[in-house]
Symmetry: C2
Subunit: 422 residues, 2 copies
């Protein structure tokens, strides 16, 4: 690797453990004597030359990132256009790298980020500026290919399984006279990984969740209602997990659907998500009393209940990213390779970004039960290790987790202002 | 106390720690050699003579109740009518008590339950059947009078403060390009205790939550929007906590309001709660990108993050209830008395049910800041001790909490069938 600095940027939706990756990057770089700059608010900070000097942070605060949710340097939703469409932005990145002697670019995100890191590597070569670009995996949606799983997912999976188990104990104890159908909506967009993980809450017949609605399946109201009714009659209550990405036969998200969708006073659709739409359907057709929950950001920021293995993997990909760059690797991603299901064993390997960028890993068909409402033994074998272990944050005397806030000292700018495209 | 058995019944909405109270009752009674029956599904089980013999449960399972959320014997929402309106039900209770030699009735609930326990005590006396009736406090809404606080509340308070802190870290890191306004809806109905507890998440100016909407105040859309805008402009984002019980100037819950209320395709109001209504308002009037969360039952069943002090108090009121009955006390409730704010000290005392039944404790005016959007130092002094300490449940090898399920062995019936009034 050429000498110089590392630039680390967080991208897209943050997670309970993305800062653990940042800790892996910074601590490993410090050990090697390499300074790390971080981009403020992700790639936008790199384009705007808004850089943070992490060498100014105390050791304890960097260590504290291992147990602090959110994105410590800020993240953003901003996808660079293609090289042909907006070459200026790629060239600007190289200009910023040159100005600050950045020789390693670590981009911590999902598919899009892998693609960007790949392109930046290419434009660097084209412009004769040597920069090692490493994509560092992060996405709660677990939809990256090649890697066995994605840091961030395991903790949401654990949160969701625990939430389903706990809330179902509540519902079960009240079902005689109160709520009979409980619906919880989970994230994951087009992939049902998080919804599937909810299935880990149950071990035997009759255990919640009783119905999982995957985005991979078209929603069938009649089959759904029949299963709700059968479950209430048999078990006494019914816990439903619905992925936010579930669509109806019309190809629209449940909440958008003209037939079932909720609308606010201004006529906006998609106000309430899928859960309230299902709740209304249950009430209308079956008359059961319902409750529904939509944990939203709570599920992906719940560092207090993160999976230990997820924290470890998040840290490991950050550490390996620095080592790969130091060893001269370019346009690769440290991916998680599973070497054994039980006992669960894993290692990190380098995989080319070309194979990862812009692909999406959907759930295999054989992970969903035949009726489409549950998970199979194969799914369980894959998912179970990912929620293992507890790694609670330290708590203060006030009963609240001690999350760190960095100083985020700005690096003085050297270049002219640049306004990123919208 | 007359010899005989204890009947223990859970009432109303369950909590993360109501089973800890059950453990306190059963373990204390076992020490004294008193058998405990539990009513299946609360007072309905007592009326239907559906009783559970807790002496059949293993010691480890009873101990496990200390860390298991929900209601282990089932609870119900069923309020006995007045003695005049339905004397038959009170007489039925005494008949069931007589048949099974029940000489102590422990009713674990809120205001209504205190009232019922009080009335059962009176009808017992009128019918010449000696039974010691003790109301045992439980309500996440924290709205019982006399007692300093209610078991169940502290854990929801802790959950809510942590959720606000964690989700706000997420929002803060994405606000540059994504969500600027995050709204979380909390329980509590007519009392703003849970909403107020969210205020513990922040310690200094600018910390989230930035706006708390209490049910004690009439919702003022203009003032709310102005504060949202000012916060986004100053802090970069805005976290809003809204109590489910907030009402507009028309006296209706936000979600019911004709002006702002969400309606589903069937025209039903109150589908989505207050949070999505506020979100729509923010989008319509200010154009900010928003997200909202509605944890619903997750907040009151989250035993994994219960406050240690809450678990201890829940256990203590169960223990004291048995001791009071054993000492011959009748028509009382073990209440929590605070003897010191800092360090926090408390004890349990007996208070007459007459003083507690059917009263509701609202938040004092001086707990809300002048602008109505935050909490005061007085509120902080009261709330802070209630979320102290962590008491995580044991976890299994599968990464999930080990919650116990009781056998709940039925006691053979001795009486004719009785159908409770609807």
């Amino acid at each position: 690797m050429a000498a110089g600095k590392i630039l680390y940027a967080q991208s897209g939706g943050v997670s309970a453990v993305i800062n653990a990756t940042a800790a892996g990057v910074i601590e490993t770089a410090r050990d090697k004597g390499i300074p790390v700059y971080a981009a403020r608010n992700g790639i936008l900070g790199a384009l705007r030359e808004e850089l943070i000097d992490t060498t100014k942070e105390a050791k304890a605060n960097i260590a504290g990132l291992k147990h602090t949710p959110g994105g410590a340097f800020g993240s953003c939703r901003y996808k660079l256009k293609s090289l042909e469409q907006n070459r200026a932005e790629y060239e600007r990145l190289i200009e910023v790298f040159k100005a600050h002697d950045i020789r390693t670019f670590l981009y911590n995100g999902g598919n899009d980020s892998a693609d960007t890191a790949n392109k930046v590597s290419k434009i660097g070569q084209a412009l004769g500026y040597e920069v090692n670009c490493i994509g560092v995996p992060k996405t709660i949606d677990n939809d990256l290919v090649v890697t066995d799983n994605c840091p961030g997912f395991g903790s949401v999976a654990k949160y969701t399984a625990i939430a389903v188990r706990e809330a179902s104990l509540d519902v079960a104890s009240m079902a005689d006279t109160s709520t009979k159908v409980f619906i919880i909506e989970v994230m994951g967009r087009h992939a049902g990984w998080i919804a599937a993980a909810a299935g880990l809450a149950g071990n035997k017949a009759g255990d919640p969740p009783h119905i999982i609605l995957f985005p991979e399946n078209v929603f069938d109201p009649a089959a759904f209602l029949a299963r709700v009714q059968a479950t209430v009659e048999k078990v006494g209550y019914c816990t439903v997990v619905v992925s936010e990405g579930v669509k109806g036969a019309d190809g629209k998200f449940l909440a958008e659907s003209a037939e079932t969708g909720a609308r606010d006073a201004f006529g906006h659709a998609q106000l309430g998500g899928a859960a309230p739409v299902l709740a209304a359907l249950v009430k209308e057709k079956l008359g059961y009393k319902y409750h529904w929950a939509l944990p939203d950001y709570l599920q992906r920021s719940a560092r207090h209940i993160a999976a230990k293995v997820d924290v470890e993997q998040a840290y490991a990909v950050g550490k390996k990213a620095v080592e790969y760059a130091h060893d001269g690797l370019n346009a690769v991603m440290p991916v998680i390779v599973r070497t054994s299901d039980e006992p669960y064993k894993w290692k990190i390997e380098a995989a080319p970004l070309d194979k990862i960028a812009n692909h999406e890993k959907k759930m295999p068909k054989n992970f969903m039960s035949k009726d489409g409402f549950g998970i199979t033994a194969a799914a369980r074998r894959y998912l179970a290790p990912l929620i293992l272990g507890e790694a609670p944050p330290p708590y203060g005397d006030d009963g609240l987790p001690l999350y760190v806030t960095l100083k985020n000292t700005a690096v003085p700018k050297k270049l002219k202002k640049f306004v990123p495209a919208k």
